[in-house]
């Protein structure tokens, strides 16, 4: 069971009060983009065993979208911040680093134990 804090209204509640919305910080690629970019945006997903950024909506509260930085192995939530942020804000990165010193902000793949080829 996840406990999330809505950064908009400050309410901390169990996951049943929220609705999950998939991987966060996807960059939209539409008409005119290359096939590779569109495929990556539309279908390919980070699926890390570790630090993950994910969209959530405070469905049974204020109704607003936000982003949670959390661990997919321990269900620990490091930080939540408004969905308007295009990338994790410095406080969120610091909160992750405090708990996962080895974490690389390059994206979920790096956090999943990827070895240098």
């Amino acid at each position: 069971m996840l406990i999330l804090t809505c950064p908009h209204c400050g309410v901390a509640a169990e996951e049943t009060e929220f609705a999950p919305g998939g991987q966060a910080h996807l960059q939209r690629h539409g008409p005119g983009s290359s096939d590779d970019a569109f495929e990556a945006y539309m279908f390919l997903r980070d699926n890390p065993r570790g630090v993950h950024f994910e969209r959530w909506r405070h469905a049974y509260g204020c109704g607003k979208w936000f982003i949670a930085a959390r661990c997919t192995v321990t269900l620990e939530v490091f930080a939540t911040y408004p969905a308007q942020c295009l990338e994790p804000p410095p406080e969120a990165v610091a909160a992750i680093r405090a708990r996962r010193p080895d974490w690389q902000p390059a994206g979920g793949d790096a956090a999943s134990g990827k070895e240098p080829a």
Partner: protein, 414 residues
Amino acid sequence: MKRHSVFAVVREALRQNRGWPKHWESPAPRASYDTVIVGAGGHGLATAYYLGRNHGITDVAVIDKGWLGGGNTGRNTTIIRSNYLQDASAAIYEKSRALYETLSQELNFNLMFSPRGVMMLAQTEHERRGYLRTERANALQGVETRFIDAAEVRRLAPIINIDGPRYPVLGALWQPRGGTARHDAVAWGYARACSDMGMHVIQNCAVTGIRSEAGRVTGIATERGEIACRRLGLVVAGHSGVLAGMAGFRLPVESVALQALVSEPVKPCLDVVIMANTVHGYISQSDKGEMVIGGGADGYNNYTQRGSFHHIEETVRALIETFPMLSRLRMLRQWGGIVDMTGDRSPILSKTPLEGCFVNCGWGTGGFKAIPGSGWAMAELMARGSSPLAEGFSLNRFREGRFIDESVAAGVAH
């Protein structure tokens, strides 16, 4: 390999079961193999088995970080059916179901395949029409299914409350040769047969890296050293994203928790498998008498193999409307598995951007039934470079918009 037979059972009964041999060897990994399969779940072991049986490739190692069948293969509710809507799905799932019919004999290992019949309840008008459509599609695909009315549902499963207040049963899609099998036995039976062909089945050895040269796979790094190989199959279900990361590509897959639970054992009261997809629950009775219950998957990425309590509550709440007698049962155990979900809810059997490296994943909530057929197709793909059964399930289908959309057809964990 000593063969199992009724005589062996009698002989061992007379000498306190002390003469049973080891079912498979546990060798130390060699420095190199022709083919390495990562993941000794049902799909990985079946791939290895059919590489040997159908293609004569036996210089093979199957490597798992845990124990045999410790992943989803040993955590699922064992429903076997092939009543899918799309042609590509019906082909591979029906191949699989058909292989299950004689697999115990072929492997000389009792998989307890029990074709007791699977019914998928229609509890809304929309669902009824959907299943009528599937029935027609199945007739064209050569899959034996039949839409049955509420009276026949009641006859086959007397414990159902047909006139439930919210979701009355309007009929069901009935597959008489669907059923269940014993999950661990599927892994064990294939492992025993692989070991017998001289393949190495290696447990407790996590793969930690994938080696390549000039875009071609050359081997893997493991907890027990480096292993070279010419061909590599990644068959790790929920961990596919992690392994793909090691190989340097991404997948259209997300891993979420799916749960199941069993009740205390009761006297026989249900001799078919029932899926109630509108209310999100399914149920069968095990040979031990436990009611085996499953529901929907969690909605967010998760590697904890536990799942959320409220999903159990939802599943049980829904099921007791349709099966009122369940309300007085105590539940014994609950567990979770990490399932690999694709966007169209269909699996991936494919070459990858790394030459010599193949992937078999995305079976999500419904891959136990597919183990023999998937292994058959994956072995052909790895041995020959293509397989008619696997063709529709390549990674390119997302890019090219050729989805095999079973999410609309099934709409539920299966």
